[in-house]
């Protein structure tokens, strides 16, 4: 992996560092495109040309890693207009529910002046789409959307050129509307297919292509429903788990008794005796294939395997363990002097906050269908990194990457949990042994156990504040959970902010928002504590320490909509507020809770969340992402926690691991702050960070009880 890529990935994406990555030798060759796509017009968005123009390399979001070989182009996206006028856009991004199939279609339809329904998007197929590092980090909207927008704008201009040539008129006389090039004077018009018929035109475009100004957007910036919504409500859409191949077998993997266990002995005689069952053993991998899933399960449970594992820490001793296992001499972000800041403080405060491991628990557990044909491997799997998983497969089977194809059907969610290729490799190994396609579906228990978790962590904060609300000192140490969102927008003279890596007892990795949730929880609760210490309104104290106008704007927007400062309806009600910034988005959250003093039950009554991510592409889908983030955040804030003991997960099922349900939802109001003058940032992650601190602060407001550990109240306040 190049240095450049290392820098652009947050430290806590541990799963991405587990395996080496590979170079992809993609050549833009005219004949390849047309062999693949048929004739017509192809627009290629070239990233390396763009980088040369702008005097440096763009962020490595979507381009092939540069390496030393500068000849091949780096491609962001491409777009094809077929001889029949069909419009297909190709992107390595994948759809996991964040609605980019629709929002990317919107920008293409906008620039090509066609109805939304006439744009088809081919996503996440390593044979058909350009290299992409992965769909994570809220990067689709800020990076992929502008590339596809430019490709579509260039296609529109190229179509005008073709029409001008055909009609022998000035191109300035021509416009594009409703999928046709129109001569406004003569009223002649021609559709795209007529123009591209018999053509094999390849255009490489760069950043200079002019696009439609934001104030003239007709399709982007509007709420449209999902382009494939009908397939979802009818059950027609085929997820990976619904994929079928001719002669397909079903697979099942025999799991170790504990994490990091080694295999001592296996007796698979009984399983091998079952008709149609094949047992596959390779090192410590044991799996079976069978004509149906039931037989595969029966065969797997008939295999007697003995495993050996070292004693491992349990969730009860987690935080002591992490602190002891943390790195001793970390660097950090230091400004001013903590000692001087504390010396001028009227009040000083030291507190510790903790967050538990939680699971992504995507409703579609990991799944793969693998098929070998003449030494070529094709795998359908729901991963957020199709090209990364291709690399993992190539490495696992010691074959070149060009003999591996990964296809990602629109997937039953991931939230950062589906970055790795574990299930794809297992299915491919079984298919290789069986000589037939194999489907492997992880059970819910496997999904809870053998995937990776959002890192647990401990955060120590010590601070000083003057009676006028000025925060004079801010020292912040995060152990293990990660550094995303560890920096803040407050204007503080003296601060020291350090992330300490630690040895995690569980496999850990990316999760929606990464450590920004943990860091915002600790920071925004601590700031509430400071406000209480100097008897100041928590919103007022925040505003006093802020110069960032965008941060102030969302705080004020949320407060206004919530009615911050209004009287509480009764003594069992509490109000809380929090603010945050991450991945280019600003968020402010106000929460109202109601506490039952007899039972200790906490009810989230109302949440108002203001969000600003630059110019808005699709307002209703943005709201949907914010609402979804708020609901998902309730789980980690209130009751989700992975329990583990000696290398095994204790609560690996929905009946033992509580996720948010209908009755947990408060009234959710979103306030969209639309900044058409600013580039669009992603919105799938940052809206998740504000809920936990706002609710924690509201619980304190209602009860005087300060909760400093996530989850805050797995059994209500009685716990």
């Amino acid at each position: 992996m190049s240095k450049h890529i290392d820098d652009s990935i947050e430290t806590e994406r541990y799963e991405l560092f587990e395996q080496p990555h590979y170079l992809f030798n993609l050549e833009i060759e005219r004949r390849n495109f047309f062999k693949l796509l048929g004739g017509g017009l192809v627009l290629v968005f070239a990233l390396d040309a763009l980088a040369q123009e702008s005097g440096g390399r763009q962020e490595g979001e979507s381009g092939r890693r540069a390496g030393n070989n500068s000849t091949p182009k780096e491609i962001g996206g491409w777009l094809h207009i077929g001889e029949d006028g069909s419009i297909t856009t190709f992107t390595g991004k994948v759809e996991f529910g964040q609605n980019i199939r629709t929002s990317l279609s919107q920008v293409v339809a906008e620039e090509l002046r066609v109805p939304l329904g006439s744009v088809h998007l081919t996503m996440g197929d390593t044979d058909l789409t350009p290299f992409d590092m992965g769909t994570f980090g809220s990067r689709t909207t800020p990076t992929m959307a502008p590339q596809l927008r430019k490709a579509a704008a260039a296609a529109r201009e190229a179509l005008i050129d073709l029409a001008a040539e055909q009609w022998k008129v000035e191109r300035s006389a021509l416009t594009v509307r409703d999928g046709r090039v129109i001569n406004e004077k003569s009223k002649d018009s021609i559709d795209f297919g007529m123009l591209t018929k018999g053509q094999k035109l390849l255009k490489v475009i760069t950043d200079t292509t002019p696009v439609t100004p934001v104030d003239q957007w007709k399709i982007s910036g509007k709420s449209v429903t999902k382009v494939n919504g009908r397939d979802l409500v009818t059950g027609k859409h085929r997820y990976t788990s619904d994929t079928k191949r001719p002669d397909m077998l079903f697979g099942k993997v025999v799991r170790p008794s504990a994490f990091n266990a080694s295999l001592v002995s296996v007796n698979s005689a009984e399983a091998e005796y079952i008709q149609g069952v094949k047992v596959v053993r390779d090192g410590s991998f044991i799996g079976v294939t069978a004509p149906n899933a039931q037989l595969a399960s029966r065969a797997a449970s008939a295999i007697k395997a003995e495993w050996k594992a070292e004693a491992q820490p349990s969730s009860k001793e987690l935080f002591d363990y992490l602190r002891k296992q943390s790195s001793p001499s970390p660097q950090g972000n230091v400004r001013g002097s903590i000692a001087e800041g504390l010396a001028v403080a009227d009040k000083k405060l030291e507190q510790t906050y903790t967050v538990a491991y939680i699971a992504h628990a995507p409703l579609e557990p990991r799944a793969a269908v693998a098929e070998w044909n003449n030494g070529r491997l094709t795998v359908w799997t729901g991963t957020q990194r199709p090209f990364g998983v291709r690399g993992e497969l190539a490495e696992a089977f010691r074959i070149p990457e060009d003999r591996v194809r990964v296809i990602v059907p629109d997937t039953g969610s991931g939230y950062g949990g589906k970055h790795t290729g574990d299930v794809a490799i297992e299915a491919a190994r079984l298919a290789q042994a069986a000589g037939k396609p194999v489907k492997l579906l992880w059970t819910r228990e496997e999904e809870f156990t053998w995937a990776y978790f959002r890192p647990a962590g401990i955060i120590d904060v010590s601070s000083g504040v003057r009676n006028d609300g000025t925060i004079t000192a801010w020292e912040f140490h995060n152990y293990n959970s990660g550094s995303s969102g560890i920096q803040h927008r407050y204007d503080l003279a003296n601060q020291k902010i350090v992330f300490h890596q630690a040895k995690s007892p569980l496999r850990q990795g990316s999760y929606r928002g990464l450590a920004a949730t943990a860091n915002h929880f600790a920071r925004e609760v601590h700031i509430d504590e400071l406000a209480r210490a100097v008897k100041m309104d928590p919103l007022e104290l925040r505003l006093k320490n802020l110069k960032d106008e965008r941060m102030k704007a969302v705080l004020n927007a949320a407060a206004k909509s919530f009615g911050w400062g209004k009287a509480k309806p009764n003594q069992n009600t509490g109000f809380g507020i929090s603010g945050g910034f991450e991945k280019g988005g600003y968020v402010a959250t106000c929460a109202e809770v109601s506490v039952d003093r007899t039972s200790g039950a906490i009810k989230l009554v109302r949440v108002v969340e203001a969000f600003e991510c630059g110019a808005i592409v699709n307002p209703d889908q943005l709201k949907n992402q914010i609402e979804g983030s708020v609901v998902m955040a309730i789980g980690g804030a209130m009751f989700e926690a992975i329990e583990f003991e000696n290398g095994a997960i204790v609560n690996a099922k929905f009946s033992r691991y509580r996720v948010p349900r209908f009755s947990d939802c408060p009234v959710i109001e979103t306030v969209l702050v639309d900044r058409k003058d600013l580039p669009s940032a992603g919105a799938g992650e940052t809206p998740i960070v504000g809920l936990a601190p706002a609710v924690g602060n509201a619980i304190f407001d209602a009860t005087g009880v300060r909760l400093r550990s996530l989850p805050m109240a797995p059994n209500g306040l009685k716990s």
Binding site: Y239, L363, G412, F654, F662
Partner: protein, 163 residues
């Protein structure tokens, strides 16, 4: 081992040859290729596999096919009539009551069962009735709106008649 040779699904008698102990979900998905009903947990906790059996919402992942022989099974594939979506499917589209869509078939089937019994549920009744269905993307408020919206339209009751 006892085997089941026929079940009634979406108004049609369908031939199967399946072990009576198998789950209805696996027979629907793997034998009949009706993959709209989803596996989410295997313990009846998430509702992704919900189908109607004689009009009742049932978790097909924990329902053995032995128990559904001769009963009227309706899956998500069976509520669209002559190319016209069920009002609740329409309402889901209008309210954008989905993100990844994996829970959607189960949500719709649970909602259809509710509306068949109670064509005008209150919000509290909707929440109580839908509590067993999980949406990890967190679209619950939109699903409640979709059910409320559908409750105001005609034709929400799904016929369980078989031919």
């Amino acid at each position: 081992m006892e085997r089941i040779s026929e079940i009634y699904v979406n108004g049609t008698r369908l031939k199967v040859d399946a072990d009576a102990e198998r789950s209805l979900l696996s027979v629907l998905r793997d034998d009949l290729d009706l993959t709209g009903s989803k596996y989410g947990c295997g313990e009846g906790q998430c509702g992704a596999c919900t189908v109607l059996i004689d009009g009742q919402a049932v978790r097909s992942c924990i329902t053995k096919i032995r128990g559904v022989v001769g009963k009227k099974i309706i899956t998500i594939e069976g509520i669209e009539k002559n190319g016209r979506l069920h009002p609740l499917q329409e309402a889901f589209l209008e309210a954008d009551a989905m993100q990844c869509g994996y829970c959607t078939p189960g949500m719709i089937m649970s909602g259809v069962a509710l509306l068949s019994k109670n064509p005008n549920p209150t919000e509290a009744e909707i929440i109580r009735s839908m509590e067993g269905n999980v949406c990890r993307c967190g679209t619950y408020p939109r699903i409640v709106s979709a059910i409320r919206k559908a409750s105001q339209s005609k034709g929400v009751v799904v016929s369980t008649k078989t031919e």
